[in-house]
Each structure stands twice: as C-alpha cells, then as structure tokens.
C-alpha cells in the first residue's frame, strides 16, 4: 500500500488550498503548511515497512497496467529519497515559521509545490512523469528564487531560469529520441526494449547524452553548475536549504535511475566520463569556495564540491559495486549536513542581517549552541571521524583505492581544500572580536538545526546504520527485479 503517494497528494492539495485560504484568514497559512508537511512525513514513514518487505512496491494509476498506463514504482532508492524530502521539507517548513514574515502565501505555496515535484520524481516509474515533475520543481524554484525583489535576486532567478529551461528542454529531447526508438515511455519497458536495440544505432548514445546533460543541469555537475551559486546566494536561506540539499539529490537520483535502470549501462566506457566530470566538479567547487565573501555562496560551492564526490563514487561504482553504496550513502549525508549548514546560516542572517563575511563575526557569543551546530555541519563536510561525512567519505576512499588510486589522492587533496574553506567560514562567522550580545534564538528556528545536528552525529557514531541502508538501496537497484515487479504485475 503506497501511503507515500498520499503524502504527495496531501502536499499538492495544500499547495492549492493555501492561496484560497489566504483570501480570508491569513493567520492560518503557516499552521496549514506545518500540518501538511507533518502528515506527509508520517505517511512516508508508514510506507517504509512495505518497501523493506517487498523490495519494490508498485501502484498503477488507472486500471491499465504497465506498459500502457502510468505506474508508480518505489524501490529502496526512491524510499530513501522520499524520506529525505519529507523530513527535510518538514524541518524547513518548521524553520520558516518565524524566518519568513512577509509574502507568506507565495512562499508556503511554492515550498509545497517544490516538495510535490521532488516527491513525484522519486515516485515515478515513467519517463514523461519524470519530465513533468522535473518541470514542476523547476518552475516553483524559479519563482521562489526571486522572493526578495532586489536586483541581485532578479538577476539570479533570470539566469537560473534560462539555464534551467535549456536543461529541461534537453531532457525532453532525450525522452523524445527514446520514444522514437522504442515506442514506449515506461521505464521498465524501455529497459527491456533498449536491451534489444543494436549496438551501432547512433540514437541511443545521443539520447543518453542529452538525458545526462539535462539532468546534470539540475544536479549541478561540472559544465552545468554555473547557475547554482548565483541563485542560492539570493534566496532565503530556508528555501536555499531545501533547494541545495534536495534538488541536487533528486537530480543525481534521476541520473542514476536513467543510467542504471533504463539504459542498464554495464560497461566501463561510460563511467570514465562520469568520473572525469565528477573530479572536475569536486576541484572546482572547493577552489572557488576558498575565494568567497558571501556565506551562502560559499555554502553553494561546497554543495557543488560534494556533488562531485558523489559523481566520482558513482563513476567508480561501474567498476566496483562498493562505489554505488558509497555514492548513495554520501548522497544522504550531503543532504543532511548541507541542510544543517544552510539553516544555521539562516539563523545568522536573522540575527546579524547580512551574509557578508567581512561584516560578520563573534556569533559564538550570541549563541554557543548555534556555533556548535554549525561546527558539526562543517566537520561533517570536511570528513572528520565521528561525523557522518567521514563514514561515507571513507567508503569513497576505499572504493577509489580498489580501482584507481589516483582518484584517492585527488579526493584527499580536495578534502584538504574543504578543510581550508570550511574552517575559514566557521572562524570568520563565529569566532573573532566583534562584540555581539548573547541572546536567545527562537525555538522553532533552533529545533530543526538541532535535529539535523543530532542526525549528523548519529550516523557518524553508528555508521552501521548508513552501511545497512546503502546496502539495501543498492541491492534493490538490480534491473531484473525492477522490471519483473513493474511489468509482471501490470
């Protein structure tokens, strides 16, 4: 029983109810949004036993099954992403209760719509559904990016719109090529048909290239990452947390789903270029983060660098299955600590009014708890033992050591560069000589930060949880199981 689909419907209905209710009573909007996201989280958690029991659960949308109708298929990977999206969505909505004071209708409606889009991509078993939900996510984040109406926000939103639309057009072109080749759009049916297509057909590599390029725009891979720092530095920090932690995770989930399930690429040639792009992304994110003045822009570049780590692990996974596990675990960890860092930056902005690191300083006197939380996030980013970043980065080191040791050297060097900008960020914002009076942070803003910090430490001290989770997810990525479950029942 796919309860998580009802969480999607709940959020969709909420996104449409919020503007209607705001005509009458505007005070209840945030309460409705909190209630809806809590309900979505509970429904998603209720689906977990079903997925762990059966491995993959499917639900046809009409009476026609696959391959004629639309099927929803949630396997272990999708379940992990659904939990991440609903959990971080709930925490961000809780944070925004006091962070966002004006234009609440627009903000909460767009936040709910963005969650709908992200959940839809995690649920779908159909390529065109993927495209539609990708567009829903993109459009709601285009509008959310221009929430503050200053010149910098308009510029960031416009650049993101043009680059992002080009990306989703490329995804559409790839899907159209696939349709022309096989005549079907269901992912499992495509997997069966693509295996029969001859190796010398030039349409297949073109369509794979288009799909990876278009989804790479969403995931912020190396040549397609240019929009990300501009956009994230002008959004409100809570939307930036949602966007940076979750959109990139969904982008990488979509790339892995297309490459592993639909195209079932098993040979090594394809993974070389993924490793190359991932290595370039890692280095680029770390080097550019060292030169930033704006705290949110630095965090955006650090997110880009971590996406590079995930891509390198994914590429190495083509040679050694440990790489896929490392990529999945690192995906989870990156979402957790990036959300933590962005929400802490939001609290800093709420108190100090600026993200400019030359004007900030001494925040540890304001609130030591916040300083500890930000430090936990930064140490997890760098990969210090006892935090979750270390467990997943250790798996990446092991995986690259077994295949290409030079990648291990590169990864360690980039970790050192992460240390360089991470400690600079922490010491500039929290330590220093500026006089800041001690104060209290509102509980609704502090609670999500504390929960995320506890999760980071939990997965660091008990990495067995993460290892079991990533083993379960990767065990379910087996193609034959997916095809049998989707097509066999339909």
């Amino acid at each position: 029983m796919m309860y998580s689909f009802f969480s999607l419907m709940t959020l969709l209905i909420t996104a449409f109810i919020i503007p209607l209710i705001s005509l009458k009573k505007e005070r209840f909007i945030s309460h409705i949004a909190i209630g809806a996201s809590l309900l979505a989280l509970v429904l998603a958690v209720m689906t977990v036993p079903f997925v762990m029991d059966q491995g993959i659960i499917t639900q046809p949308m009409e009476e026609w099954g696959a391959p004629y109708g639309i099927m929803l298929a949630v396997d272990g990977f999708g379940m992990m992403l659904i939990l991440m999206v609903t959990a971080i969505g709930f925490l961000v909505t809780l944070f925004s209760l006091r962070f966002i004071k004006k234009k609440r209708t627009k903000y909460y409606a767009l936040l709910c719509l963005m969650q709908v889009g992200l959940l839809g991509i995690a649920h779908t078993g159909d390529m065109f559904n993927l495209f539609v939900f990708l567009e829903i996510t993109s459009i709601s984040s285009y509008i959310l990016a221009s929430y503050y109406r200053n010149a910098a926000a308009i510029e960031g939103a416009l650049k993101y719109l043009i680059i992002g639309s080009l990306g989703t057009s490329m995804v559409l072109l790839g899907i159209v090529f696939l349709y022309g080749l096989t005549g079907t759009l269901n992912m499992a049916d495509l997997a069966v048909n693509i295996a029969d297509v001859a190796n010398t057909n030039p349409v297949l590599p073109l369509s794979l290239g288009m799909l990876v390029a278009g989804l790479g725009v969403k995931a912020a891979m190396f040549p397609f990452h240019t929009w990300k720092p501009d956009v994230v530095s002008v959004m409100p920090a809570s939307a930036g947390a949602m966007f940076s932690a979750l959109s990139t995770s969904i982008g990488i989930y979509a790339i892995m789903r297309v490459v592993i399930t639909v195209f079932s690429v098993s040979s090594a040639i394809f993974y070389y270029i993924i490793i190359a792009l991932g290595a370039a992304t890692m280095v680029l994110g770390a080097v550019l983060a060292m030169q930033q003045r704006n705290l949110l822009r630095l965090l955006a570049y650090s997110a880009i660098s971590q996406v590079g780590y995930i891509l390198v692990a994914f590429g190495v996974g083509g040679f050694n299955p440990l790489g896929f596990q490392a990529a999945v675990f690192h995906l989870f960890n990156v979402a957790m600590f990036e959300a933590l860092l962005f929400l802490s930056a939001g609290i800093v902005m709420h108190k100090a009014g600026t993200y400019d690191m030359e004007k900030l300083g001494g925040m540890a006197r304001f609130s030591p708890v916040l300083a500890y939380a930000f430090l936990i996030g930064m140490l997890a980013n760098i990969g210090i033992p006892l935090f979750n970043g270390f467990a997943s980065k250790w798996m990446i080191y092991m995986a690259t050591l077994a295949t290409f040791p030079i990648l291990t050297v590169l990864t360690v060097v980039v970790s050192i560069m992460t240390l360089m900008y991470g400690l600079r960020a922490y010491s500039t914002v929290f330590l220093g000589n500026k006089t800041v009076k001690p104060g209290r942070i509102l509980r609704s803003m502090l609670l999500p930060v504390l929960i995320l910090a506890v999760i980071c430490v939990l997965f660091g001290v008990l990495p067995q949880l993460g290892f079991q989770m990533s083993e379960f997810v990767v065990g379910g990525l087996d193609n034959a199981h997916y095809i049998a479950a989707v097509l066999g029942l339909g």
């Binding site: 297949l204 590599p205 290239g209 390029a213 040549p223 397609f224 394809f270 270029i273 930033q292 600079r424």
Partner: protein, 101 residues
C-alpha cells in the same frame, strides 16, 4: 646510560639558552622580516585578514587556478556556452565509444 647523558646535555643547553637570553641584546627584526611571507608577492596585512576573500590568493596563484574565477564572470551567454559545450562533448564522447558498451 646514554639516555641519561643525553638528557643532561639537553638540560645544560636549555639552561645556557635561558641564561644568555637574560643578557642578550634587544631583537630588532629588519623591515623585510616584518612583511608577510607570500611566496614572492606583496600583500598588505589587511589583505591577509581571515574574512577577506583574498585570504587564499597565494595558494591559488601557486596552483595556477586563478583562471577559474575568471570563467565565472557572471556573463549569461558564457554560462550557456559552457552548458552547450558540455552537452556536445558528452554526446560526441558517447557516440564514438558506444560500440564498445
């Protein structure tokens, strides 16, 4: 036995150093020693302050990575050209190597 003699020698050297420091001259470092060591570049103390963006400038010049921030200049057409070029490179690579998949 050797360790004891070694320890006594180290303690003697330490005591002599402290004794001579009491009667030593005032240290007057030269002007060149007071400047910040920046691998041959000239950087003022304001620039090397931690919150500044130019804190790691020496590292980046050493690794010859300053071109990277030039490429992120904010020009929309250049960003789109990168996206397009990336897509074309990816497609060409896959087109050439697909027969080996």
């Amino acid at each position: 036995m050797v360790v004891v003699v070694f320890g006594i020698l180290v303690a003697l050297i330490f005591m002599l150093n402290k004794h001579s420091m009491k009667y030593g001259r005032k240290r007057r470092p030269s002007n060149a020693k007071k400047k910040i060591y920046a691998c041959g570049e000239d950087m003022s103390p304001i620039q090397m302050d931690v919150p500044q963006g130019s804190f790691y400038r020496v590292f980046i010049r050493y690794m010859r990575l300053e071109k990277l921030s030039e490429w992120h200049s904010g020009d929309l057409s250049r960003y789109l050209t990168w996206v397009f070029a990336g897509m074309v490179v990816l497609m060409l690579y896959l087109l050439v190597f697909w027969r080996f998949v």
